[in-house]
């Protein structure tokens, strides 16, 4: 397997080699949904790197021997292993493949985002989601390589290792892919659920957004504007425009920085009705593609183009759905149903 796979060539079925995020971005690309272009540093690249590391001094047995209750030992091991991941030279062919792909992706030196992409189903569990890393506005190939390495190293964070131990995952199944994707200089960005997070209603789409990069919404540092849009009707049934005090923007030397929003911008809605409806269209398209409600991260670039940064199945309500009874059972005759109106409330 190659060290690099382009979005257009992978799909959700390739999760074992490109991770959930990489597979999902590939799947979206193939479905004709606009995502910022990019490639995945595959599990093969990681494994090549790891075998070099293992050859020097085995890692896996150390993690497998860890007692998840012993935080002191976990911390010490984590420091040690992460340092090793950061110091180990990257195999030359992996490094060349990554540099070549980066050069192709960023012909004009555009900045990229580097995001870890976990390979296991469980990694999508909310408890694991926060354990992975995302690095924004990475300016050059050298830094990109460091960030990829950091993503790999995150597998050996205290939280990550103790989680695996508690779940008793075999360490030789642990792998990680990394997504490298062009950055969107977002005018505004946010998240979208293709069902209601509060009622589970599948007939509405909830959209949240704020000025600047989506990281401020995902991290919860800014209270986003919130809309509820009819999935089928396009009615905008709820508008909550919040005071968005700040936004995250690219920093000069790479990375991001938070800046205050100007007074007139703070309380202005970050999306127009037309943009909301365009987002709804994209949301419906993705949901239709996957056949189930989605949890989506989106951004709007300065030209007003919608780009998706992530889409994953909604999980909380999906679990409740599986347990819930039908709303109402069919009757022998349709009009028997009217007894629920005329027959009085059954106490």
């Amino acid at each position: 397997m190659e060290a690099v796979a382009w979005f257009a060539d992978v799909g959700i079925k390739d999760r074992p080699t490109v991770g959930g995020k990489g597979g999902s971005l590939g799947e979206l690309t193939q479905a004709g949904i606009t995502v910022p272009p990019g490639f995945v540093v595959t599990v093969a690249a990681f494994e090549q790197f790891l075998s070099a590391l293992e050859a020097r001094e085995p890692i896996r047995p150390q993690v497998e021997a860890l007692d998840p209750q012993d935080l002191g030992a976990a911390t010490k091991l984590s420091e040690n292993l992460r340092a090793r991941v950061m110091d180990e030279p990257m195999p030359a062919e992996v490094q060349e493949a990554l540099k070549a792909a980066h050069a192709q992706l960023c012909e004009d030196g555009q900045p990229v985002a580097v995001r870890s992409s976990a390979t296991t189903e469980d990694a999508e569990d909310a408890s694991f989601a926060g354990l992975q890393d995302t690095f924004l506005w990475v300016l050059d190939a050298e830094t990109m390589l460091d960030r990829v390495r950091e993503c790999w190293a995150s597998l050996y964070s205290v939280e990550s290792m103790t989680y695996r131990r508690k779940q008793d995952f075999p360490e030789d199944g642990v792998a990680m892919a990394v997504v490298v994707q062009r950055m969107v200089d977002a005018k505004c960005a946010g998240v979208m659920f293709t069902r209601s997070p509060t009622s589970g209603d599948k007939s509405v789409i909830t959209i949240e957004g704020a000025w600047g990069l989506g990281s401020s919404v995902v991290s919860g540092e800014v209270t986003p504007d919130k809309w509820v849009v009819g999935k089928i009707t396009g009615e905008i049934s709820s508008r909550e425009i919040s005071d968005k005090h700040a936004r995250q923007v690219p920093a000069d030397g790479g990375g991001i920085v938070e800046v205050e929003n100007e007074a007139d911008r703070r309380n202005a809605p970050c999306l127009t009705d037309d943009e909301l409806l365009a987002l709804r269209e994209v949301g419906r398209k993705v949901e239709r593609h996957y056949g189930k409600p989605q949890d989506i991260e989106w951004a709007l670039d300065e030209d007003g183009q919608i780009l998706l940064l992530q889409s994953r199945p909604e999980t909380v309500w999906a679990m409740k759905d599986a347990e819930s009874a039908p709303v109402k059972k069919p009757e022998g005759k349709a009009y028997n149903h009217v007894m629920s109106i005329f027959g009085g409330r059954k106490a």
């Binding site: 039908p326 709303v327 027959g343």
Partner: protein
């Protein structure tokens, strides 16, 4: 008033406004509040009777409640509810339901209902066809009633044919037939109505459970019929606009036109003008028998009585036709959109069972809805116009005999009093002496006129008496949309923002603009392009105006009202059922209408609005 002990005033605490006692006492005894009424819950029927009642117009309330109750209580035998009692004080109609609460009685009634109501559902189409025949026959009967007239001497034919009945007898005969017809019309009106609403509401409840955040409008849109009678009047105006262009007489129709002059001119400009007049006649009968209100008051006149509404729309339509724009309702597209919506919601359901139930309910709703949408044209519009115009003929006759100053004064008499005045006139014609009415009625008419003016300025409590824990009366929930939640909102009305009004979200969209508060059709020429129409009732007969305005707000109407359905077709942001927007919003104010949320906000009062404009 403390938060814990909020309640509505008791009926006994309402005082008749000083100076209006006699006008109040003249309403029939059976609709005066009684001491025992304090034990019950009443609410102000502002939906159907938003203005103080002329004494004659109370016939609408009593005929409607005679019929509604008969069908609920004794014909279909609804399990949990009987009829509606009504009372009037200070010109305002309060109504109270009669719920059935004894479980055994509910059970017994449920068994009856399944024999009766279910029969209607089973045979709906056949019975509805039959209904239309009955209604048309009833309308034809009313149209055939002679104009009341007293000749000086009986025509010689009466003698030669041995008729044996003189002209004065026809006065009371026609009057009673007309009254009978009106009462009967209301029976027909309620023959299907509750069953139709019930079937609709069953689908509505299913949708609200399956899709907790679905809007009322979305459900209405899935159920709405596309070919309902109520769309016809506006379609006829469009047809007339098209014919005017085709016949080359369109230059006669301008925003400043005088309708009488236009009609006279068209009669003299040759065949094409007369052909257009012929087309107008075709449209007028029956489709211009729509009134500009909801038909519950005598002064809700029809397009036929006053052509200014349809004519106001002609220049705009003509202009669009000449510009090559298509003004027809895209029927195929509308049907396709509706069916697509039904299919899209269905797809979101998880289980086969839910899909099967959904199919049953939407099919039933589609079966019953033609009646729900169609009956109003025959009942509240066509028949009601005939009825009030017949009473007007009596008004003219009595005026000619000195009973009152104006034809319209007749509506200040109750229907019993009117019958007595007719008998008075019959007696005097027969005896050859002077009637006594002229010395009796003018003072009474003046007194009642004054009372109505007084009452019109009064604030009316939304409800009276004991607040029920739950409202489980399907009739009240369906017809008035009253729920326990509404009542709580009414009770806390004083704490709400005085510049914000709430109503039913009828059609999505947010618009800011100048409020044009229109109290009668005579004022429609005040509406400028882009204004927001604010009025008591907007029904589809106002739809010709929809091409001109940017949003609509009304005091009455629900999200499944015809107004709401038409507004959605025109994609016109609208909030209906605000209760009192036409009183609270000053003409010329700058307002914001949020048709998705159902709110109307006063942003600037007229003076401020002008300052803002000048600044």
């Amino acid at each position: 008033m403390s938060d814990t002990a909020k309640s509505f005033p008791l009926p006994s605490s309402l005082k008749v406004t000083p100076g209006t006692e006699e006008a109040q006492a003249a309403y029939p005894y059976y609709c005066q509040f009684q001491p025992g009424d304090d034990e019950r819950f009443w609410f102000y029927n502002s939906m159907h009777f938003p203005e103080p009642m002329h004494h004659f117009d109370m016939i609408t309330a009593e005929a409607a409640y005679c019929a509604l109750g008969a069908f609920n209580t004794r014909v279909h035998v609804l399990p949990t509810t009987k009829g509606i009692d009504h009372r009037i004080i200070n010109g305002r109609v309060f109504i109270g339901g009669v719920p059935v609460t004894d479980p055994e009685e509910v059970e017994a009634r449920a068994a009856e209902f399944q024999q009766r109501g279910f029969y209607y559902y089973e045979h709906w189409e056949k019975l509805y066809d039959q209904w239309k025949d009955k209604m048309k026959a009833l309308i034809a009967e009313a149209q055939d009633l002679p104009k009341p007239h007293l000749p000086d001497l009986e025509p010689i034919e009466t003698t030669h044919s041995g008729k044996g009945v003189a002209a004065n007898h026809a006065l009371i005969e026609t009057y009673r037939k007309q009254l009978n017809g009106y009462y009967q019309m209301w029976h027909h009106h309620f023959e299907f109505l509750l069953l139709g609403y019930g079937a609709y509401l069953t689908f509505f409840d299913f949708c609200k459970t399956a899709f907790p955040e679905i809007s009322d409008q979305a459900i209405s849109r899935m159920v709405a019929g596309m070919e309902a009678e109520i769309f016809k009047p506006d379609e006829e105006v469009k047809r007339l606009a098209r014919r005017a262009v085709e016949l080359g007489v369109d230059q006669h129709f301008t925003p400043e036109m005088d309708i009488d002059n236009v009609l006279a001119d068209l009669d003299t400009v040759g065949n094409s003008g007369r052909e257009w007049l012929g087309e107008l006649e075709k449209s007028r009968n029956p489709w211009f028998n729509v009134n500009v209100g909801d038909g519950f008051y005598h002064y809700h006149r029809s397009w036929n009585d006053d052509l200014s509404m349809p004519f106001a729309a002609l220049p705009g339509y003509i202009e669009k036709i000449k510009a090559g724009e298509n003004i027809e309702r895209p029927m195929d597209k509308l049907v396709e959109e509706r069916d697509q919506m039904v299919a899209d919601y269905r797809e979101l359901l998880d289980t086969k069972e839910d899909k099967a139930t959904y199919d049953q309910l939407i099919e039933l709703a589609h079966r019953v809805f033609p009646y729900v949408e169609g009956h109003k044209f025959y009942c509240e519009h066509w028949y009601t116009n005939l009825f009030f115009n017949k009473i007007r003929e009596y008004g003219a006759l009595l005026r000619d005999h000195g009973f009152f100053e104006k034809e319209e004064d007749v509506f200040h008499l109750t229907h019993y009093e009117l019958e007595s005045a007719i008998v008075d006139l019959m007696l005097s014609w027969s005896s050859g002496s002077e009637p006594l009415g002229p010395s009796r009625w003018p003072a009474i008419v003046r007194q009642r006129q004054a009372a109505i003016e007084t009452w019109a300025g009064e604030t009316v409590p939304p409800a009276l008496g004991v607040v029920p824990d739950v409202i489980d009366d399907p009739a009240i929930v369906m017809l008035w949309g009253i729920t326990r939640e509404n009542l709580d909102a009414w009770l806390s009305d004083g704490e709400a923002d005085p510049n914000e009004l709430k109503g039913f979200a009828a059609c999505n969209g947010v618009v800011e603009g100048t409020a044009r508060v229109i109290k009668s059709v005579k004022e429609i020429d005040r509406i400028q392009s882009g204004d927001i129409l604010v009025c008591q009732v907007t029904n589809p007969t106002w739809s010709p105006l929809f091409q001109k305005i940017s949003a609509a707000v009304s005091d009455i109407g629900g999200s499944m009202s015809h107004m709401a359905i038409v507004a959605r077709e025109y994609d016109l942001p609208a909030v209906v059922g605000t209760g009192n927007a036409s009183q609270k919003i000053p003409d010329g104010a700058t307002i914001r209408v949020d048709g998705g949320k159902g709110t109307v906000t006063i942003l600037a009062h007229p003076a401020e609005a002008r300052e803002l404009e000048e600044a």
